[in-house]
Symmetry: C2
Subunit: 536 residues, 2 copies
């Protein structure tokens, strides 16, 4: 169908490939003036690489168990300036990734550009037809022109995804993507694919995931960037009531935002970029949606605010709506990952999944030797998978998310691919509660990646202090404050608890058993690096 | 079936009839020592009747429009003692009811006693069978003995209901009933009849009344008194969010309690007695229910509290539960009216019903001459019915209840019967909001009973002040404080608004047109009393 513009395509491919080379492969050569210094927490222009040590930084592990644990009592040197810039300049955050072969990147430039061009053409044809039909049906839909932009930040973000992480630490693309999601014109709004998969059937018999879900929307920007919008359902200072089960808790837009920042600060880079935005639900959702069902759930509240219902729940629960003031509604926008057709992912039940019933308990909750069984099962019996699960459990413990029933990986990277930390909106529900059961993978398996541990130790030091760097990082979001102080301070307390669990493991089993040398090389030959630990 | 104990029945009937005579017909002769002076707000032993003036008190109406309106600025004399006792001692609260003929009482003694005895026998037989069945099915149900008590307060309350009100102002029965509901052993719990009428069908397509409803329960006491339990769903200081429609607002147990006190203070006596109680939902609901469906909605929350779901909603909305701490849960207990089989009632849509949709508006909302139409329609074209509707609208405006879609009357008393003010749990939702549309019957029809107006004026005076007598009255409930200060003070502000509406009507139409002489006689020959006004 689209064979006519081959030459233009070739030219564009070359341009995008050059951009790709420039942004993705060459950033390690970055020296000065790459970013213009706008509200950039990565402080790219202040970063310097540590002296190369055979391609890997090898920070000292000495006295790791004492200093961080005593953090609260150590004398605090008077450091000035940005803790976040200092953190991201630290050698631990500047470990070289080996040069990436084509198989180590999620997408090839040609493939994505081709996909993008087809999307643009499809949209233009579709809009033409839709506008005619809408005019006949007397529906007013605001029309926006689509721009084809081979430099689009979302495109670069997708091209940058590789077997190690969603983005590289010093990639300016992410900052641009965040900026774009925050400000770019929304040209269409719709239910998400999850929603559409229900095909209008409102399955109320499911106890799991009954709420919140149906209020998330997919927004499309002028350059066809896509973002998932989760509207604000709860005030910053509201806490999840103690009697609420984790699986019926509200989804919090600010938790989604904060989780992205934390993931970046932990240097996992497994959460797609998220930003807060005040969305005008009339002009940016109602007026641009082409979905009749979505249009039908809009209404005006007694206070004259524009609101919309959950698709399935509105018949039963009309109070279950999100309302603007009168049209503006806070929400989180999470960047979409590449479509499943070009970058398939699989969703795998977590071995530490909870029962999702009111009384049931899973084996891991009652069997202290559960990890021994897991360690013998594929794919947890080799490679980094179990260590990745443990990373994820530390992340979830820090944010207080009990709802990680599944995790996703890109099929392309196989069993050694990193785990995506998607859907974090049920974090940050109770600042005073440290749900230690979330740490079970760590406390039961007693193993942790050295790189993760070193960063946790760093963040426990007053020079960096997790709450301080998080506060600073979140300050960049336009919906600031994103987290209340008690939630920020809870991060420090929980970090101490993670380190204490590791400490106990080391005391019981010894450092060599517990701390798995990983860094980059471990992912290349994972068996060699983790073999001893795995077979324990 | 029950013919064997006729003699006992006759004896009992005589005893109860004597009690009835003593408590219901002769209280006007009351002099000293009728009640023992326990937390009785009616202060029965301090009350004295005003000098009889031809069977009716005829208080002065002079300067009624000025004094109350300037209430805030009048100098306040230093009154000591209980404002509530003083209020209830006022001649306006001690108007003689004419002697009641049998047709003016809702129930005859023999009829009710017979009904009660049959209930007791039925219960005993039923429990015998049920216990055997439960034992076989391995269900533990706490068994309580039922007592047959011809002096039971609920029996006296039912016998006292007459064509003028649910109880007489100085009836000690109500105080005893409140005490009994507050403390008596609960022997069984079940869904209410409304609930059972659904026959398990969970009609989620209804937008109206979707919430809260399904959490109310019918509790039965040792002497077979029945009360409707509405559990606490909201903290005292929580307000209904501004975007919530009145018909999906939560039901508030404290509003139910406060509405009873207000109704008594307004001397309407059209709300059945309500009292607050800490109910142990394990021992007083779960352990005594014989309803399998009800037992099935109980669960233990993550915080180890006992909770129960709404029957219909739990599949969709598991967070929609009420939880004890760990078993104790606040709630309101409202006395049941006599069963529909012995005292039928009809439910009539209010002419000022709202649309119960998100956009619809009813005629009364758009047509300023709506009342002229209503006045010509049966049953509003004669008698007190319209004046009763206006009383109800004043009551609803004071509590802020927009949800009065229907009203009920006892069929026995026909069109002249008083209106029952049932189901007030959606009042007291927003202290800062005075919803003037609730007053439409008053402002559009421009008429009010003289007796009502005089009491409102009295309550606007600093000597009594509505908020003060309400505060004092509510102080008697064990769940005190029932209302927050802003809600109490809102009563004074709203009362001023009611009086201002009347004032405007009088200025426009003159006193004689607006203020309808009623008192007791008007209900005997209502046409004569209100004819002129009605035909306006």
């Amino acid at each position: 169908m689209m064979r006519r513009d081959r030459i233009l395509l070739a030219v564009t491919l070359t341009a995008v490939f050059s951009a790709d080379l420039y942004f993705i492969l060459l950033p390690k050569l970055r020296s000065k003036g790459l970013t213009s210094g706008h509200s950039c927490s990565c402080g790219a222009n202040k970063l310097t690489l540590p002296p190369s040590q055979g391609g890997l930084a090898t920070p000292q592990l000495s006295n790791w168990t004492s200093a961080p644990l005593l953090d609260g009592t150590t004398s605090e040197p008077a450091y000035g300036g940005s803790k976040l810039v200092r953190l991201f300049s630290h050698p631990l955050y500047n470990i070289q990734t080996p040069a990436l072969g084509p198989e180590e990147r999620l997408l090839q430039v040609e493939q994505l550009i081709d996909y993008y061009r087809r999307k643009v053409s499809h949209w233009e044809r579709h809009m033409k037809l839709y506008s005619e039909a809408a005019a006949l049906a007397n529906i007013t839909v605001t029309k926006h022109e689509v721009t084809y932009d081979p430099d689009a930040s979302w495109l670069k973000f997708h091209l940058g995804i590789n077997r190690y992480a969603l983005y590289s630490h010093d990639d300016p693309t992410v900052l641009q993507l965040i900026k774009d999601m925050q400000s770019m014109t929304v040209i269409s709004a719709d239910y998400t694919q999850d929603e559409k998969a229900l095909k209008g059937a409102c399955d109320c018999t499911q106890v799991v995931k009954p709420s919140g879900h149906h209020l998330k929307l997919a927004l499309k920007m002028r350059n066809l960037a896509k973002a998932m919008f989760k509207p604000m359902r709860q005030q910053r200072d509201e806490e999840t009531p103690e009697d609420i089960f984790y699986f019926v808790d509200l989804q919090r837009h600010n938790a989604e935002i904060a989780a992205f920042h934390l993931d970046r600060i932990l240097d996992f880079r497994r959460v797609p970029p998220v930003v807060g935005r005040l969305v005008n639900i009339t002009s940016e959702v109602l007026k641009v949606t082409q979905n009749e069902d979505l249009r039908a759930v809009f209404f005006t509240s007694p206070a004259n605010n524009t609101c919309f219902f959950a698709k399935c729940l509105y018949v039963c629960k009309t109070e279950y709506a999100a309302c603007g003031s009168p049209d503006l509604l806070e929400g989180s926008l999470s960047a979409y990952l590449p479509g499943l057709s070009i970058a398939p992912r699989i969703s795998i039940p977590s071995p530490w999944m909870r029962s999702y019933t009111f009384t049931g308990r899973e084996e891991w909750e009652v069997n202290p030797f559960y990890c021994d069984t897991i360690k013998q099962q594929y794919p947890y019996n080799s490679g980094n998978r179990l260590l990745n699960i443990i990373d994820m459990s530390i992340f979830d413990f820090l944010i207080g998310n009990m709802d990680r029933h599944h995790y996703e990986i890109f099929t392309k990277f196989g069993d050694e691919g990193f785990l995506l930390h998607l859907d974090n909106a049920r974090g940050f529900g109770k600042h005073a509660k440290d749900e230690l059961s979330i740490l079970s993978p760590l406390s039961q398996c007693c193993m942790i990646k050295q790189s993760t541990l070193l960063r946790l130790q760093l963040l426990a030091q007053s020079e960096f202090r997790l709450s301080d760097v998080m506060r600073e990082s979140l300050q960049e979001d336009s919906l600031r404050p994103i987290l209340t102080e008690p939630h920020l301070l809870a991060l420090d307390r929980r970090l101490q608890k993670v380190l204490r669990v590791v400490h106990r493991c080391v005391r019981r089993l010894g450092k060599d058993e517990v701390i798995t040398k990983d860094f980059v090389k471990s992912t290349v030959t994972p068996e060699a690096a983790t073999d001893g630990t795995m077979r324990r």
